[in-house]
């Protein structure tokens, strides 16, 4: 048994060296594809962070019509303040039309068309509400209740903003997963081709092995190990890349102002370590599967 294991390992190393150029190409392709897989995990985690933070601080804005009377405005305020068990009355904030216009200038800084339609006279004033409940359904119920008050133009929910982020998250996830799968397919194909080339180059040796009574598994194992090693080396390189990328991102995010929400996009090192283990497993599997298929298919060289 020891002789067989020793033979398989020796042959694996020798074959890896013999096909160094192709092996390096297979390792690099695996590394790039696995780096993208790892990045997908991190992006997803970053979006999750953002969503979690917003959900923990659910907000609602009650817009008041510009032509609402003082009585209507007072009634709306009193209605909101009359529910201290449901909303955080202490943090209830009112922005008059001038303040709302100033805020709009910032919100729509990149949207000049919308901004040009707004004036201090036409813009609604607004109450910034922080509900005490974290139940999105209950918050939506509150919004429906406020929407029917006289003088209220409309109610915006942070929940609706989540939909935008969720949509963006799904889109980015879809694109990165698709690209990862395509690149993983390319890596498996390249490993498959590397092993096929190695087997064709050693066809005489394989023929002799078969004629002297070597089993198919004895012949296959060094080739499968070679592919598995290529996938694993690619995964190790991708882990290094992922760690570096995450460190650079973390350092970059530190430069943003607090409260912008960008800080939520930082992914902790412990999570990155978990992703790296997954990448090592995927790399080894991709290499093993690619080479296993080739070693079975081209055994009759």
């Amino acid at each position: 048994m020891f002789a067989r294991i020793s033979y398989a390992l020796r042959e694996t190393i020798a074959s890896f060296r013999r096909n160094i150029t192709l092996s390096a190409a297979a390792v690099l392709t695996s590394a790039v594809s696995l780096l993208l897989v790892g990045t997908t995990f991190l992006i997803q985690r970053a979006f999750d962070n953002l969503l979690v933070q917003w959900r923990g601080d659910v907000g609602m804005i009650v817009f008041v019509r510009p032509d609402a009377s003082e009585e209507q405005l007072t009634f709306i305020r009193q209605t909101l303040e009359a529910q201290p068990n449901v909303i955080d009355v202490k943090k209830l904030d009112y922005l008059d039309r001038a303040a709302s216009f100033e805020e709009a200038k910032r919100v729509f800084a990149g949207d000049r068309t919308t901004l040009s339609l707004l004036t201090v006279e036409t813009i609604p004033s607004q109450f910034k509400v922080i509900p005490l409940t974290t139940d999105p359904a209950l918050v939506r119920g509150l919004a429906d209740q406020y929407r029917n008050l006289p003088g209220v133009q409309g109610v915006a929910l942070a929940e609706d903003e989540f939909d935008v982020i969720s949509t963006m998250s799904s889109f980015v996830r879809g694109v990165t997963i698709t690209m990862s799968l395509i690149l993983l397919g390319v890596a498996v194909t390249l490993i498959w081709n590397t092993i096929r080339t190695a087997m064709v180059a050693r066809r005489n040796e394989i023929e002799v092995m078969k004629l002297v009574g070597a089993t198919n598994w004895f012949i296959r194992v060094p080739f499968i190990l070679e592919g598995l090693t290529q996938g694993l080396f690619g995964a190790i390189v991708s882990c290094g890349g992922l760690w570096t990328l995450n460190q650079a991102w973390t350092n970059g995010v530190a430069g943003f102002k607090t409260g912008t929400g960008v800080s939520s996009l930082v992914v902790p090192g412990s999570y990155v370590s978990g992703v790296m283990i997954i990448l090592l497993v995927i790399g080894a599997l991709a290499g093993g599967i690619g080479s296993g298929i080739a070693a079975s298919k081209f055994l009759d060289v």
Binding site: A3, R4, E205, V208, L211, V212, G213, A214, T215
Partner: protein, 225 residues
């Protein structure tokens, strides 16, 4: 030891390499397969070691119907056979010792067995002093001796030789035949495909002659016609 019963081997749907071949080769016999190129000699050898399977008929080796042998058992069948080729099929990046040791290595023989058996067989074929040479440093006759050593190191019951003297001059060919003869005298059954008249006529062993896949002659102590 080897029995063919109405064996037909087709290449494609209608080209018959072997047609209705039937014969028995007892243990310890030396048999020549003769006939022109394309007559089916090599195909018969390939049917014996299960490199090919017949479309019809049965091939028995050492009491087993090898047509019905599971693929996973074929390596174990081949461990009881040695194969010698016209082009030697040596591994050029391995030394003489490593080439011979290779056939023991791949069937999982431990190192101490390899260290013991390889020098013995190299002594038998007269290459004990050249075990560190590479095949490119040897003559054609010496390379064929290495090939025979590799085939015999596992002490097979059957030796299959496909034109082993085909690339050699007459004198070297005689040396190789002498070696195969001495291996046969140890009890190993030898089946050799050849179209070398001199060898067949000099040895006067059993001759099975083929013509376009048909066995046209099966003669004890025969000559090449």
């Amino acid at each position: 030891m080897i029995r063919f019963e109405n064996v037909t081997k087709l290449y494609g749907s209608d080209v018959a390499a072997v047609r209705e071949a039937s014969f028995d080769i007892p243990k310890g016999e030396f048999v020549f397969l003769v006939g022109p190129s394309g007559s089916g000699k090599s195909t018969l050898l390939r049917l014996m070691n299960r490199q090919e399977r017949p479309e019809r008929g049965t091939v028995w080796v050492a009491g087993a119907n090898i047509n019905e042998l599971a693929d996973s058992r074929v390596p174990y069948l081949r461990r009881g056979m040695g194969n010698v080729f016209q082009d030697y099929k040596l591994l050029m990046n391995k030394t003489v010792f490593e080439n011979v040791a290779f056939s023991l290595q791949v069937i999982g023989r431990p190192k101490h067995v390899i260290r013991q058996q390889v020098p013995q067989v190299l002594e038998l074929v007269g290459l004990a002093d050249k075990e560190d040479r590479f095949p490119s440093q040897l003559s054609g006759g010496e390379q064929q001796r290495v090939s025979i050593a590799r085939a015999f190191v596992n002490r097979p019951l059957i030796m299959l030789a496909d034109e082993p003297t085909g690339n050699l001059d007459p004198a070297t060919g005689e040396e190789i035949m002498s070696l195969l003869d001495s291996i046969n005298r140890t009890g190993t059954t030898v089946v050799m495909a050849t179209h070398d008249h001199r060898v067949v006529n000099a040895m006067r062993r059993r001759v099975i002659q083929l013509d376009r896949g048909l066995v046209v002659r099966d003669q004890e102590r025969g000559v090449y016609e």
